[in-house]
Symmetry: C2
Subunit: 273 residues, 2 copies
């Protein structure tokens, strides 16, 4: 695997490939990788002539902390290139004054991820769209709100980029792979499957003909029982993240369950009749 | 001149040119063209292997209104390509949910252009950056606030685009070329030179050693006398548009003078000692 650290190196690699009509697959992570991330790299490798991943670590000083662990997971995927930004090159002028923001999908949607976090994620993603250029961008369905934003911003602002959502990777008991799972105690981990089980109940209700949003939400809440503190449950338009009284079309049920100090998030798709 | 109306046509033209290392110059207008716009096209043509302009008209239904007039001015420049967006192709999904916004240069700067207008301009420009791809983007210094935003967003979000500011084109008496000038009565037009004359006074003061911002602003206001209604005068950091008590470095004096119903805007650069 070849490590690139400068934007100019990334462009020097990708521009000639593009000129030869090679397809380019990109996926990224902020470190603390798990099987969910690896599945994205594998897909980017399998479906493209050239695959490159980026690894943003946890910020400037935290680089070395995880890379050595993560690289052991990454290498077996066969991905040829990893971009680990040199921050002085990535952000030559600070502070950044420019935001890429989707108010209807952040403040305009029911409260899920904090808006400042979402703005930072969409702005950084816009920058990465420009660093890599035309490509296929692989992003996990685990962070559904972010994925919906990436897809929409590519369309709205005409980036020549195809955003590809990839299914959530789960443990044998249904728990979604997440960097947060390691923070759970054994006892909390034992209660964690309740989240996905409840989402499946909601999906089944919708696909059996239930179209009342409030009804689906309360079914999911009940199904979680006393497994933990339910932070939120929403049944939303899968694309626009808008709530609707009567569910129609492609629905996403998005929920967060807090176990001890750890808020787990998960989601599931359902097609309303 | 070849007219393109689809994003795919623009890309089919520019991608092979880019693969051959041709330089690409782009400039755009919202119609009602004058010698200022023409100077941008001429520069884009002179400095690049391939030049393309875009013409956004006044919106969907207003297309035909000005194009026939404008094309008579455009053709002598020798620009080979004009992109007149087919709006269904340009915005296939509506409404757009994505904003590209620079709060520090809009709401964070002293009030000049309306923030909603600036957000619309920077968002549309972000979209055009993506439609055209890597290029040199020519933009007039006449709209200094917008130009500062275009430059900053290209840096902040790593667009592979060089934003090139072009000097204000002026009538013989110093009045900046503007679509608004035709709305002036003969009597108002006779008073219009006061705006630029006052800006020159401010520049001279700064370059003679005056570093008090309030002093420069009041000099410029006084120099406009009773020529019209002074809407604003600001002496700002040329790049960040931030006010400063004591002027240092590259300064931009930006002013608006209303004559009858027409607010004229103009600006000038000065290097503080």
């Amino acid at each position: 695997m070849k490590i690139l650290s400068k934007i100019a190196e990334v462009r020097a690699l990708l521009e000639p490939a593009r000129a030869e009509d090679k397809t380019i697959g990109v996926m990224g992570t902020s470190g603390r990788m798990h099987a969910g991330h690896i599945s994205l790299i594998e897909k980017a490798v399998a479906e493209n002539d050239l695959a490159i991943m980026f690894w943003m670590g946890g910020g400037e000083g935290l680089y070395e902390r995880n890379w050595d662990d993560d690289v052991k997971l990454i290498e077996p995927t066969g991905v040829e290139y990893a971009y680990l930004p040199d921050y002085a090159d990535f952000m030559p002028v600070r502070p950044s004054y420019t935001l890429t923001t989707l108010p209807q999908l952040s403040t305009g949607a029911p409260p899920m991820e904090p808006v400042e976090h979402l703005d930072a994620v969409t702005t950084t993603t816009a920058k990465l769209f420009n660093v890599f250029g035309p490509m296929r961008y692989y992003s996990g369905e685990k962070d559904w709100q972010q994925l919906a934003m990436f897809k929409r911003m590519a369309i709205d602002l005409s980036w020549d980029i195809e955003v590809i959502g990839c299914p959530v990777v789960r443990e044998a008991d249904g728990v979604a792979m997440s960097s947060r799972n390691v923070k759970l105690t054994a006892e909390e981990r034992a209660r964690a499957p309740a989240l996905y089980r409840a989402l499946v109940k909601g999906k089944e209700a919708i696909e059996s003909g239930e179209t009342g949003s409030a009804k689906v939400v309360s079914l999911v809440r009940e199904a979680m029982g006393d497994a933990g503190e339910v932070i939120y449950v929403h049944a939303l338009d899968a694309e626009t993240l808008q709530p609707m009284d009567r569910l129609t079309g492609e629905i996403r049920i998005i929920a967060s369950l807090k176990l001890g100090e750890v808020p787990l998030v998960d989601n599931i798709g359902a097609t309303a009749k």
